[in-house]
Amino acid sequence: MTKTITLAQGNGGEENNDLIKKVFYKAFKNEILERSEDAAVIGNLAMTTDSFTVSPLFFAGADIGKLAVCGTCNDLAMMGAKPKYLTCSVIIEEGFEVESLERIVESMRAELAINGAVVVSGDTKVVPKGSVDKIFINTTGLGEIVQAGISSNNVSEEDVILINRDIGCHGATIFAAREGIEMSSTLRSDCNSLYPQVKALLDAGVEITAMRDATRGGVAAVLNEWARQSDVCIEVDEEKLPISDEVKGICEMLGFEATALANEGTFVLAIKKGSAAKALEILKSFEVCAMASVVGEVTQKYPKKVILKSPWGTSRFLETPNGELLPRIC
């Protein structure tokens, strides 16, 4: 590891994992933490925390407030838990406009309502100009587990891999906003609360093995984590990966891969083969999930690896993104 912290160590990819393992896991070592799930399971409760530092604060499809609620509620939803109680802690840079703060908090309120969750505790700090970049928000969430046993450690050959919608919209949007790239106006962050989709799947009795929202590090990071944690090989058909033309365009222009771009309302599912058709039908009943797709299967071909198969019969490993792929986006 480097002597000083670099941006690459916050990328949700390889260096990030390395930092977490070598510094935090080493010090905090315990059984719950080491399961490395989206949220910790404590009895029938799920608990998670996340800090949000996006720039710009307002972007097509969402803002930092919506992000701060969705991010934490989604981590709970991914463990089959209903989001219930949140804390909200903000660090504000001196000079920040009150009007912007009000807009952000209003977004948080609206998104909490969608989840049926409430903020029950909070904290506010104001720091001198230059100490933080405008505003940082931390949210911690507590949820009630509706469906126990969902875990990214249990993916097996009986499962297929699904994605609920087109990938990479959040990363591409933030990038376009940052770099001042004018893309067609339909490119928007996918930032969205996932509990409604999860609830619909659970209510219909879809047999879910694992779920994970593909935030920093994108779909590539999630699939690699699953392959590693469950000791399986995940084989993905490149053709079936849902990617919008706008995101493809940004990727072409800047040399990125959509599988490495961050998402805020996109999740990967491992579900029992027999449930796949039903799951697709339910997901597609949500407007934003029109491109939901079964993208691959689980095998033992190369355990702990993800394989990407091209439509012309070649294949390669899809690695966990590394390096400072994008400027920090969340």
């Binding site: 480097t2 000083t4 670099t6 033309d245 493809k248 072409e252 222009m253 019969g313 490993f317 690695e319």
Partner: protein, 373 residues
């Protein structure tokens, strides 16, 4: 820019049926070859395409690839990176460069390390983005660490053109532009050279024209096909090269008709000539290659960061790590897995040599995509 136009750039050039079609044609034609042919893709962009799209998996045994020197990031010798590092540490300086350059290790570390220690280092997608940074920071000096082949050079010249015309007081250039034909010549002059044909990068020829490669078939007996970067382009170009061999031809051909002419973009060439002149350049791994770089003409010394900061810039030439065989890889004499520290001490997250640093680098491409084959 509308997304539809962007889509047109690649749609169709990844068509599975077309790719499989070329695979068949190449397989049939290759049976008529009397020996193995080694094709060098000059440019790292092609290396990337070949690895990412699994092109090697589609080729018969007797067609091999030799990975060439074509990545402006990886050919940058350490002392030049040290220049960037030192410049970034000067008071009131914002050091600006292009993407991957930030990750390349110099002898004190990379620009990324400099940034984590407090230097203001930024990357841009276009040199012209420096104008905005300079305007927003009137009390700072913006130094553009310019890198790249013929493709990016005109944009650097355009930046200087604007700086002069608009009399912008706080932008300086540190020039590290290099050109493609000189290293190609250096490689085939080497007695141990195994290269039979070249895949020429289309983007270079969009600017410089296909004419820059005319000497290779004519004087050196090496066919060149100027190729685009999509998998269909590369497959078609390979097929064109194989056809030349079975038909006993040795020519310069252009696969990438979409944008390449013989003369290239004359306006861009004139702009480059106005401000820059040919200079000797030391290539990482390849050593000194005469007249293979571009420097600022003397009349523009007042924009030359290398002159202005001369007193603080390190002068010593620094070679790569002893175990690193980047040099042989760049020359086509070795392939990345032959390096003893490939994938162990040297990985994209902890690169020892430059071929691992740039995402276009041969070692990085092998590490990322190449381990299935």
């Amino acid at each position: 820019m509308s997304s539809l136009q962007l889509k047109d750039l690649y749609d169709g050039f990844r068509d599975p049926d077309v790719i499989k079609g070329y695979q068949k044609v190449i397989a049939t034609d290759a049976q008529k070859l009397s020996r193995t042919i080694n094709i060098m893709e000059v440019c790292g962009g092609h290396t990337h395409t070949i690895m990412k799209y699994g092109i090697l998996q589609l080729l018969p045994e007797n067609i091999k690839f030799v990975h060439g020197p074509g990545c402006p990031v990886c050919i940058m010798p350490k002392e030049r990176i040290d220049h960037a590092y030192v410049l970034s540490q000067q008071p009131n300086v914002i050091l600006v460069t292009l993407g991957d350059m930030i990750k390349v290790p110099g002898s004190n570390g990379s620009l990324q390390d400099a940034r984590s220690k407090g230097s203001d280092v930024r990357f841009v997608y276009s040199p012209l983005d420096c104008l905005k940074i300079a305007k927003e920071n009137p009390d700072k000096t913006v130094i553009f660490f310019a890198i790249g082949f013929e493709t990016t050079t005109p944009m650097t010249a355009a930046l200087l053109d604007t700086v002069i015309k608009e009399d912008i007081p706080n932008i300086l250039l540190h020039l590290n532009h290099v050109t493609v034909p000189e290293p190609m010549r250096a490689l085939i002059s080497d007695e141990a050279c195994i290269i039979d044909a070249f895949l020429g990068p289309s983007h270079v020829s969009v600017i410089s024209g296909s004419k820059i490669y005319e000497e290779f078939p004519r004087d050196w007996g090496k066919p060149v096909v100027v190729s685009g970067f999509e998998p269909v382009d590369v497959m078609q170009s390979i097929s064109m090269i194989v056809k030349q061999f079975i038909e006993n031809r040795c020519e310069l051909e252009v696969e990438y008709h979409r944008a390449v002419s013989r003369e290239g973009n004359l306006k861009a060439q004139a702009m480059v000539d106005k401000y820059f002149q040919k200079v000797d350049f030391r290539w990482r791994g390849l050593g000194d290659i005469p007249q293979s770089g571009l420097g600022l003409r003397a009349e523009y010394d007042k924009y030359n960061a290398e002159k202005i900061y001369d007193a603080v810039l390190p002068k010593e030439e620094i070679d790569d790590h002893k175990l690193c065989i980047c040099g042989d890889i760049l020359k086509g004499k070795a392939s990345p897995p032959q390096c003893s520290i490939f994938g162990t001490a040297c990985k994209p997250t902890s690169p020892v040599g430059s071929c691992m640093v740039s995402s276009e680098g041969a070692c990085s491409a092998y590490y990322k995509y190449g381990n299935l084959i």
